[in-house]
Symmetry: C2
């Protein structure tokens, strides 16, 4: 343990100092002032895992269904990340998971003593898996405690919150990454490559649909009916995957959006947040993307890309596993065989690697801010019945 702490301290001093010491950090990776001027495309580490004591230590904040069923079990697949701390308002629950995942009970925190993580050198990175309305507070407090942050999507409820989160992490010289797992998931990466390498010819349209039935009896869904905690309805929760797909498939930022929303009257789930949002995005290259988002239809997580020479469909596109990628060209339909991988592990390792290499993660705070800005524009377009111009990132 002592060695691990020492290693981490050394690593933090070298990499996280912001002083740009030239040299080679842990695991042979190069630190900030190396010759890497243009940041190459991210490749998931293909090497074997680094020794456990050199992995970066992660604290998971919030022990809801997603954290306990997807995130925490995925550390076992990580090559550069390890779970070392838990933050929860429920001590007994945290102790239970700590036992199960071999987390030292002294590394269990609650929301009051969360800031004292600053005194725990085992923790390098905090993963915020809280309701959206709490993302800003816990990101800012985490950065001020000297930790790098992975924050669940959507980044926050407002542009101002996003900006404050980015500013806090910059000021603390900590990395901020938004947990856009699809951008680390191999089937999605293959779809992006196919589209951007023009294997479908010139891209013309994208159709992306994400829906599920919000379950008012599921504790993981209860807070999503609360506007203050959720920020928005289906759009903020899952429509964001449709929006993301359109953005990462084109590799462009939309310039215009029009939209309509609908919520079933008298459905108690939709007193505060919306049920359905349909929207169209215009991209600079001319691609028009039709997206749907719903809390009212049965499970749907798919997108389709239409090009001049072919189409691809990823269905499911943004599930946890069992993705299916079909490419159709010249009437020949082919199902792509791709090695399924744990996208949560890839995602977390990306941030660990970004910290170790002192590089901007692929999905930084600015990526999350852009989606929040766009989602608010989508709401505005629906509310006003007008096509809204959206500037690219400021």
């Amino acid at each position: 343990m002592l060695n691990a702490v020492k290693n981490l301290l050394t690593r933090r001093q070298i990499i996280g100092s912001g002083m740009g010491i030239l040299g080679v950090g842990v695991a042979g990776v190069v630190t900030r002032n190396s010759p890497a001027i243009a940041q190459p495309a991210y490749k998931p580490a293909k090497e074997p895992p680094i020794p456990d004591e050199k992995k970066l230590g992660w604290a998971v904040v919030g022990l809801g269904k997603f954290a306990t069923q997807q995130i925490i079990p995925s550390f076992s697949q990580c090559k550069q990340s390890k779970l070392v701390a838990l933050v929860s308002g429920d001590r007994a629950k945290a102790e239970n998971y700590a036992r199960q995942y071999n987390v030292n009970p002294k590394n269990i925190y609650n929301y009051e003593n969360y800031d004292s993580l600053r005194n725990n050198p085992e923790v390098d990175i905090i993963y915020i898996v809280l309701p959206n309305g709490l993302h800003a507070e816990y990101t800012i407090r985490g950065a001020q405690a000297g930790k790098h942050i992975l924050c669940e999507k959507p980044m926050a409820n407002t542009v101002e919150e996003c900006q404050a989160m980015i500013a806090a992490c910059n000021q603390a010289n900590r990395k901020l990454m938004i947990a856009y797992r699809a951008q680390y998931e191999p089937f999605n990466l293959e779809a992006i490559a196919i589209a951007q390498k023009k294997q479908l010819g010139q891209l013309k349209a994208i159709v992306a649909d994400h829906g599920r039935n919000l379950d008012p009896k599921d504790p993981a869904d209860v807070w999503r009916m609360n506007k203050k905690l959720a920020g928005g309805g289906s759009l903020f929760d899952i429509g964001i995957y449709s929006l993301q797909a359109a953005r990462y498939i084109t590799g462009e930022e939309p310039t215009e959006v029009c939209a309509m929303t609908y919520s079933t009257p008298n459905d108690p789930r939709f007193k505060e947040v919306e049920e359905n949002v349909n929207f169209i995005l215009r991209f600079p290259s001319g691609v028009l993307a039709n997206c749907t988002s719903s809390y009212g239809y049965s499970s749907t997580k798919r997108f389709q890309v239409f090009g001049s020479n072919g189409t691809l469909e990823l269905d499911p596109a943004t599930d946890y596993y069992r993705h299916q990628l079909t490419v159709k060209r010249e009437k020949v339909q082919e199902e792509r065989q791709i090695q399924e991988q744990n996208q949560f592990a890839l995602e977390m390792d990306h941030l660990s690697e970004s910290v170790m290499q002192d590089r901007q993660p692929k999905t930084p705070g600015e990526e999350g801010l852009q989606d929040v800005r766009l989602m608010l524009a989508i709401y505005e377009a629906a509310r006003t019945g007008r096509t809204i111009s959206v500037d690219s990132r400021e």
Copy 2:
């Protein structure tokens, strides 16, 4: 031949007189003033074909690819319709097809002597398979020649033309039907039944996509690049299938539309007509439909329906054959086994039957007018960047 003519004359006198003679017409079907007050859903005739001399006689106007490769060969599958005349500007071509399909050469017409069809009692119904910009003229002249009309979609280029066509047919007391083949095609009928019988629960969204690469070297496509002949671009030609699907699946009329269009700059195909149109329709029950239409992407003819308890996908949905209907409920995916049928024959027989029974066809002129009205509203929404309210049929 004489007997056939006699039969037709008798039938026309009874059924087409508009005088509502109570009684039983040919083939045992009931004429207008029978007790059938509410018009039941159309069922394709399951009986064997009626004797050839009792079938209604059809003239096909325009001998392009669609007419010669799809329509004309389909008469052999008809039970109540027979091909008896051809109208073409190319006499040699017409003679060739007349020989092939056993049409009496005296029943070959051109666009100048077209009106003399009035003197040919063998012809009951005229099928207009001309460029869109000629639909109004040839429908009106055909009705004035005393014939019933099946007119290809889109009905015409403007609302005014559609209204004039309806008025001309009313005045001549002739039936007017628009050739919306998908509304007679068994897979589409099954999809409609599944949706409207609530087998997917409450409908939430429809996604309908129709695209193909317009081929400037294909004579069948050349006139489609001409605004005056085509009326519009991809929307008028194939986006109309997306629009239709949204309407017939819901069984409702949209109340609002928003849209965006895009045409590749400097693409010679899109000097006069648009390439891509994406639009959203709002229906009274709350269903929001996302539709695409393109002359720039590889062949796509599909729609998907999202309900609270399941989804269905028809892909291809509006091809000539080999449709595929997939229904997914509670994670169980099922491909529906449906007997493929010749939709052109069903469609033509529907009009023959409607004429014989003196009933309004299922897709009358008003149906075509509604689509033209909606398509023009879609263009307006795209042009103005505003959500356009569309009144239901006047």
